[in-house]
């Protein structure tokens, strides 16, 4: 069992670091190559959102065990402006990039579990889990 790793996100370099940590842990846990890359991409998207919209925040990466299976859990948290309309933010085609690539809906599809909480002026917290099945 590894201890949770928390990475402060302030610069793009921090995004790279978070991706790297996520990839390392998923490799250790025996995830396949593609899933490793998907986990790194998901972290990348969440960290980029922190960087772009909240300015600063944290990414926490840890191992989870449940019902005899192992997974990786990522918590992305910030105290930025929050998301006014979560339903719309989760809709395909809503992102500024016009829904190409990942964005929040893409992250949700790549992961097994996804939850988001956000409050205007208080911040945003996204938790994702990928199980190694």
């Amino acid at each position: 069992m590894t201890v949770p790793i928390t990475i402060e996100i302030r610069t793009e370099q921090d995004i790279v670091l978070a991706r790297q940590e996520g990839r390392n842990l998923s490799k250790q846990l025996g995830f396949g190559n593609i899933v490793q890359s998907r986990i790194a991409t998901a972290i990348s998207e969440l960290a980029r959102n922190i960087f772009q919209y909240a300015g600063a925040g944290t990414i926490t990466i840890e191992t989870v065990k449940e019902d005899g299976r192992v997974g990786v859990r990522i918590v992305a948290e910030d105290h930025g402006p929050g998301i006014r309309d979560i339903r719309r933010a989760m809709e395909d085609g809503f992102s500024t990039s016009g829904g190409l690539g990942a964005g929040l809906p893409g992250v949700r599809r790549m992961m097994d579990e996804f939850s988001i909480e956000s409050s205007v002026d208080h911040g945003t917290r996204v938790v994702i889990i990928k199980w190694n099945s």
Binding site: N33, S37, T41, G101, G106, R109, F114, H122, S133
Partner: protein
């Protein structure tokens, strides 16, 4: 306030999925091996077919790259830089994979929307499915065909008592769903107004108020509202910016415009609609239509009213329904089977 959205999509690949993946990989390997042994185009053809199969099985692009790498690793001694380079390729392809997955989810949403529209279409058909009344002394024909799934044309027949019936025809600007929603509003308003047995000009006056208050200023409705007396064979009507219909005088064998002044509904608050009255002789025809009938593009040019009269002239001997049917068919042929706007025509003949 905290708002949240939870989503748990447990993609625990069942054994079936796992086996399937192994099976696909084995097939890929077989084809790749044969191809490297120089069998050429046949293998490329098989690869194309396999691609279709992959798509059917929802295999993402990045997974195929992974499949390729593993197969190559099994078959040849790969130089380290080549092997490493696949990581970069995978990373790029994941974005394509995301777009591919989004496409899939949008497709299923589209299916859902389409089935919702189907329900709405059925509802609208129920709203519009009024039987053409069969009356003694008057023969009525009707054709109403929407350009898209839902119609922005409206028509209405009501028999008030033994010797009086009302007829209305309207066209809502625009087509499709917005026009159809507006049409339902007109329909409900008309149902209420008819209960009060108002004159055509009063009906349009009230309807104008309703439309003006309830629809977007960019939309408007044109309408002709009429009342036919079966005893005197007088037709009283009022017009709100509607495409003029025709009056055919059998004795003179001539078509006249069924003219009338009045501004479209929803444009000017408090607008007044003068009432007109005409008497029909035996064999005379009233033809009411929407602009989908007349504003027809035929190749490079538009249909002229005189041409339309020519086509009507050729049909005057037939029953009211035949006239409406034949005109619809004729115009459809002339516009190369394209129907750019909703088409509604009502034919009324004094027998």
């Amino acid at each position: 306030m905290w708002s949240s959205s939870n989503g748990t999509a447990n993609v625990r690949k069942g054994r079936a999925g796992q086996l399937n993946r192994q099976h696909l990989q084995a097939q890929y390997k077989e084809i790749l091996q044969a191809y490297l042994e120089g069998r050429g185009e046949t293998q490329l053809y098989l690869a194309q077919q396999l691609g279709k199969w992959f798509l059917k099985q929802n295999v993402a692009p990045e997974e195929i790259i992974d499949m390729h790498l593993h197969t190559m690793e099994e078959m040849v001694d790969m130089p380290e830089p080549v092997r490493e380079s696949f990581q970069l390729l995978t990373e790029v392809m994941i974005e394509y994979g995301n777009t591919y997955r989004e496409h899939r989810s949008l497709r299923s949403r589209q299916k859902q929307l389409e089935s919702e529209i189907e329900v709405a279409v059925t509802m609208q058909q129920t709203l519009l499915s009024e039987k053409v009344p069969s009356l003694e002394g008057v023969d009525i024909g009707l054709v109403s065909v929407p350009a898209k799934k839902m119609s922005g044309d409206y028509y209405h027949f009501v028999r008030h008592d033994a010797d009086l019936f009302s007829v209305a025809i309207a066209d809502i600007t625009g087509k499709g769903i917005p026009a159809a929603l507006c049409m339902s509003m007109i329909k409900y308003a008309m149902d209420c107004l008819y209960l009060t047995r108002l004159d055509p000009s009063e009906i349009l006056f009230f309807l104008n108020g309703i439309v003006e208050r309830n629809i977007d200023p960019s939309m408007f409705v044109t309408m002709l509202c009429g009342c036919y007396c079966l005893e005197s064979h007088h037709f009283r009507y009022a017009v709100a910016g509607h495409e003029p219909g025709f009056l055919y005088r059998a004795k003179e064998e001539t078509f006249y415009d069924l003219a009338g002044q009045g501004i479209a509904l929803g444009v000017k608050r408090g607008a007044k609609y003068p009432e007109y009255s005409i008497g029909l002789e035996e064999g005379d025809l009233l033809i009411l239509l929407t602009d989908g009938v007349t504003e027809r593009k035929m190749g490079e040019r538009f249909l002229q009213r005189e041409e339309l009269i020519g086509y009507l002239q050729a049909e005057v001997g037939r029953s009211a329904q035949e006239i409406a049917d034949n005109l619809y068919r004729r115009l459809l042929e002339l516009s190369h089977f394209e129907l750019p706007d909703d088409h509604t025509m009502i034919v009324i003949r004094r027998a």
